[in-house]
Structures are given as structure tokens and as C-alpha cells.
Symmetry: C2
Subunit: 324 residues, 2 copies
């Protein structure tokens, strides 16, 4: 594919950020084979390829939940024979694997549109604050289930936080600190401005902390990918944030008899509903929270819907639109 | 870190390609812990950071042998519980994980030199030819050892080529086709020209084939990373190819009583020695072969040595230099 040369005539159009949920790449109930991953990627990839026909850069972020979970379980299961990699390396691995699937899928879909564009994946580090209070309250269960005895041994040997997670067993819990900045944001912005589609901050990015001398070091944590996407979107000057998930839209009274879909709301209304606890924690709530951060930081528009409905949502006939 | 703005005044200096052997990242005899990987990466990273103080872009490639081997073994061991990813996804995973280690290490080393530079990893696809005769002669053993019965079952169920590999058991054999082109070479070149250090084509790149309609598809194969590096080096217009490995230099009569190190040779001499079988297959031979391809394709200079000796080698006091 031939490269687009960077235009020096006018300032580049503001990019659009498209974020794919981890459950959009491996759907609930799926085993997670590579065939399923490519099939799921194709739905989002086909939309992105059509969107790329218009002007303006496209930057893609994605979740990695089911995939990094599998990588972590494989690492733990084999740790007697092969040194287990820390969670942050598993994250980096998943940025490579999922990035490859998305980058190839979008490239292939672009060929169908006859649009010449490059697509690349940038391995992305996201700085979190060592003083983030999440570090004293590890809240995200990761990896395999253990017996209480195994969990307590791991806690002693590795200093892990472990706890009983539902009725299925004990698990390791890691902190979920807020993303502060995207280390590679400057390069991502510049590549995007030359017309290249960039996949970045996969899985919320690899969490790193900054030492007093400025050097970086990976930490075992889970960064919410919606919040990372919002930080990246602001750092690259995006105007629009399209968040593709498995729920068709945001709802009021979700799951209750009178649930009502929200077709459109202002950032002010979004904050009000968020404060009233209308949105499910760990599901719709972080997406609305990320939308609020993005819009209050200077973004123009957020659209939340499924890959299946995104075309209709772009025309205002599906999904939820939140505006500044 | 602040971005360097791309210079519009003069054509960018030709980049230098630095390639790190997989056995430079996990050394023979090491278990392969993440601490060992970071320690090994620091040696090469420190040299690269000092080199970055001079002008000219730097593009880094690396092997992934021991690491992708571990990923593959974990995948196979857990396949009854979690779908095993194909080799090409394990390759992409390793590009993420190793890329992260190198990118962070170089970033940290750059801080010590006070030089402001960005460092990114680009997940890289490398096209191989479906008609490559390597596909009818799978020659590279990968993954775990099996009993003969297990191997024959896998061969029936998955169509794998399996064979007895030394005395330790049966293994899967995959083809080792020649790299034809680097899909992301154009973007890698443009990013490098803006002063960013780029890590690319890790593990020789993720092997893909091009279908008649131009779409790409991953294949289970092993691409020699020295040959991929040579193809990438020519595609980005590099003048110099520094190949860091675990052997201090190329030797004549290697391993024999009268072995003699080669401090310097022309590409013509290199071809003659290569033809005479002076260099070990799967070790020094592919490095010399890649050097010949690079120099005959327009490159100026190749240096082969260890990360420990590279500074001396750059001054002509260690290693092997091959010139056009």
C-alpha cells in the first residue's frame, strides 16, 4: 500500500477515536478461538474502513479482557516450568496479538473500499500515579481461580492481594488506577496526521509508573480502557469518540421493567444520571464517565453502541449520542 | 518526552538498522524471567541511546526465539481449557511483549543521555510467497516435544508436519520461507525520518501471505529475522546494519584449532566464505547471508558483534565489519 504523504497545506482534520470493547473481540459465550476473533474484528473493521473514506484521522483503541485473561491463566498454569510473565507483560503481549488481528482486518477491509491507507499498531505505555489511592485498594480480580490455601501462599510469596471472588474461588486482585498520560501520544498523533490509521492503547495500555528521575517501570494493574481512550483522545485532539460495546445504547432504569434507552443527552445530563447511579458499574458507567471526561476536556461528541448498529447510530437512528 | 519536529530543510539522513538476536534478550542457560530480559535489554538499549545522540534515524529489529517458544508451549499445554492461538498470533504477542521491554529500556536509557527522543514499537507483518519452496519442506522445529503418538494425532487432526527432533522427542516442523516485503515499511520509514526510534519486524515479523485479491492472512511459519531485517533495511533506505548476537565476530574454521576471527571483509569475500560453508547454519550463516543481501541491495556497511563489544566494534577494534 502506498503511503499518503503528509499534507502541509492546511492543519490536519481532528481525528476520530474508535474504541472496541474486549467483549466485542471475544463475545460472551465464545471460546475465544482465533477464527471467532477475526470474525468479530471484521464487523468493526468494515465500519472503520468505510469511515476512513472520509477525511480525518482514525485512532483505534480496544479492550483486552478475555484475551489477557487467557494469557495470564496460561502463564500461571505453566509457571513451574516456564517463568510466568508479570501482568503488564501479558498486557503488552495482548497489544501485539489483538493489534495484529485488527490491523490486518482493517487493511483487508480497506482493500475492498479501494481506499489506500496504512494501518499500524503502536505498543502503548500509560502512566499511572504511584500515589493513586487505587494502589491501596486492589479491586480488579485477574487470572485463574485458586483454592484458599494456594491464594494465601501466593500472597505470602509474591505479595499479591488475594480475596474470595464470588463462589468460584480465590483470586488475585490488582489496583485499577486512573490513566494520567499516554507515553506515545505525541507519535500516535503525528502518525495519524499523515493519514495512517493507528491502533493504540490496547487493553487500556500497559500500566507504567514514572520514577523520580523520569524513568518508567511496568506495574501490575488494570487501567480502564474507556478512561485511557478519553485521555488519549484529548492528547491527540480528537473531536469524536465512538465507543463500540456489546450493549446497543445507554439506558435509564436499565434491567428494570420500565427501562428507557437514551438516544441523546448533553454532558450535563450524563453527569446527572451518572451521579444518580443509573449506569452499571464496570459496564456502562465507565463509558459514560469517560465520555464526560472527554467532553469536558474539549471533545465534541461521543457515540456509544454496538458494531452492528454503528452505521445507524451515526445517522442518529440507534445508540446513544452525548454532546458537549 | 517532547517530539522532534520533522525537518523539512534537508533530506533525512539514512537510518541505521540495529538487530538484536533472540538469544541476546534471553541468553543461553537463563530461565527467561522478566528481570533477566530487562537486564539483557539494558546492555543493547544503552548503546542505542548513546548512538541516538548522533544524527540519523535508528530502527531496531529483534529475534524472539526463546520467548515465542515459551508462548507456544504455554498455548499447547493449556489447549484443552483455552483455545490455543496459532503460531503467527504467538509471534504477534511476542512483538508486543519484547517491543515493550525494548521501548521502555531505550526510553529510560535516553533519559540518562538527556537526549529527547520518542521510541515506539510497530507490530509488523512480513509477506512471504505461497509458492516459496519452504512450504513443501517444513524445516523449523517449534513448540513442545511430543511422544510419537501425540505427534501423529496432531498431524492427523491439524495437518501439522511432525518429525523426530534429535533424541528428545517429536516436534512440529514449520516452513521457513524467505521474506518478500514488510507491509508496514512505508510507515516505519516515515516515523523514523521524524527522529523517532522505531522497533519493528520483531521475531522476523508476523508471516502473512497475500491472496490474489491483495488481502493478507497469517501463516504458521518462521521467518529468519536476519533476512527480514535486510529486507526492511533496504525498504527504509538504511546505510548501516548492526547485528548484535551472542558471538563476538565471524570466524574462519570456527570451532577448529586454527579458528581465525574476521575483523573486516568485503561483500565479495563474504560470499566466497559463505559458499565454502565457513559459517554455521542457523547461526552465523544467516547473518552473513543477510549482510550480503543488504550490501548487494545498496547498503554500505554491516557490523556483527555482541552488545558488550559493540562500542569497540564501531571503532574497528572488535567484531566483524563487512563492506560493499
Amino acid at each position: 500500500m502506498t503511503a499518503l504523504s503528509s499534507s502541509k497545506k492546511k492543519p490536519p482534520a481532528a481525528p476520530t477515536i474508535v474504541s472496541l470493547g474486549g467483549n466485542v473481540i471475544i463475545r460472551r459465550g465464545e471460546a475465544g478461538t482465533i477464527e471467532e476473533q477475526f470474525e468479530n474484528a471484521r464487523m468493526a473493521g468494515s465500519f472503520i474502513a468505510r469511515m476512513a473514506e472520509n477525511n480525518g484521522g482514525i485512532i483505534i483503541t480496544h479492550g483486552n479482557g478475555p484475551i489477557v485473561g487467557n494469557i495470564l491463566i496460561r502463564n500461571e498454569a505453566m509457571k513451574e516450568k516456564i517463568p510466568a510473565m508479570p501482568l503488564y507483560i501479558c498486557d503488552a503481549d495482548s497489544e501485539g496479538g489483538i493489534g495484529f488481528v485488527m490491523q490486518q482486518t482493517i487493511y483487508n477491509e480497506l482493500l475492498r473500499t479501494k481506499k489506500i491507507k496504512d494501518v499500524v499498531t503502536i505498543v502503548t505505555q500509560v502512566v499511572v500515579d504511584t500515589k493513586d489511592k487505587a494502589f491501596s485498594n486492589p479491586s480488579k480480580p485477574v487470572g485463574p481461580y485458586y483454592t484458599r490455601e494456594e491464594a494465601e501462599t501466593l500472597s505470602r510469596e509474591k505479595g499479591w492481594s488475594v480475596a474470595d471472588d464470588s463462589s468460584r474461588g480465590w483470586r488475585r486482585f490488582v489496583p485499577s488506577p486512573r490513566p494520567v498520560r499516554i507515553v506515545e501520544a505525541g507519535v500516535i498523533k503525528r502518525i495519524s496526521e499523515t493519514g495512517v490509521i493507528v491502533i493504540a492503547a490496547g487493553g487500556g495500555g500497559v500500566p507504567v509508573v514514572e520514577r523520580p528521575d523520569g524513568t518508567l517501570s511496568g506495574v501490575d494493574a488494570v487501567i480502564d480502557k474507556d478512561l485511557s481512550t478519553s485521555v488519549l483522545a484529548l492528547e491527540v485532539g480528537a473531536e469524536r469518540f465512538i465507543n463500540l460495546t456489546q450493549i446497543d445504547m445507554a439506558y435509564l432504569d436499565f434491567g428494570k421493567p420500565g427501562q428507557r434507552g437514551i438516544r441523546e443527552m448533553s454532558v450535563k445530563e450524563a453527569k446527572k444520571h451518572l451521579g444518580a447511579g443509573e449506569f452499571l458499574r464496570g459496564s456502562m458507567a465507565p463509558k459514560i464517565e469517560a465520555a464526560v471526561e472527554f467532553l469536558e476536556g474539549g471533545g465534541r461528541e461521543v457515540v456509544i453502541t454496538t458494531p452492528e448498529l454503528i452505521e445507524e447510530a451515526m445517522e442518529g437512528r440507534a445508540g446513544t449520542r452525548i454532546y458537549a
